[in-house]
């Protein structure tokens, strides 16, 4: 199954955001759009692609963690 992983913004400095994932954080550029600490986002190529509603993000993270637990 293909599953895109959302992360949570924990810090913003200018156009750089720090995005937290289970077990790690990554830096991501903000190209356009209003983002604030606490937002859930998708990142690819070190760029924030889109914002995602919190409830969906939490569902997705849960699914991701369950899938990771079941990975061979």
């Amino acid at each position: 199954m293909c599953l895109a992983m959302p992360g949570k913004i924990v810090k913003i400095e200018g156009d750089k955001a720090t995005v937290k994932y289970p077990g790690q954080t990554r830096e991501a550029g903000i190209i356009d759009g209003d983002y604030k600490v606490g937002d859930y986002v998708f990142v690819s190529a070190k760029i924030i692609v889109a914002k995602i509603p919190e409830d969906e993000a939490k569902m997705s993270i849960k699914a991701w963690e369950e899938a990771a637990d079941n990975a061979p």
Partner: protein
Amino acid sequence: MLPEVYFLRYAFPCARVLVDLRKDITEEEFEQMQNAVENDIPLSRKYLEKVFHLAFERMKTVSDDVWNVKTIRKYFCEGHEATLSKDLPPMIKRLCVVKPGKLVQYIKGCFKADLGDGDIRIVTALYKDAKVGDTAMVHYGYAVEKVNPADQT
């Protein structure tokens, strides 16, 4: 275009999963793959089939003749959606589905893409000479290839 190059353009947007979830490839391999996709460097079919084995298995259900541009396009643009879990939250499913979007604005090396229904994304173009006004197939945060909007009904 070589199927090796074309396939990687469509498959690469999913590659993060292979590092983070399936642990099939290392961070270094991911970076090599990113370099390959950005510079049209063909990776061997054998390597791609090892890494993206699920996509290859699924492409075989689309056509017996897997290794050509037509089958690759048909799988990613039509067959890929059916392989996604029904339980995926809607926004995540949107990201995983390959669909056309219009590049509406150029910002700092990226494009703002409008995929309809309020789905606006910041995407990185994987094809040369991308410009505002193009309609492109979008997978996750990437504009994979330019398409004729008249063909996208």
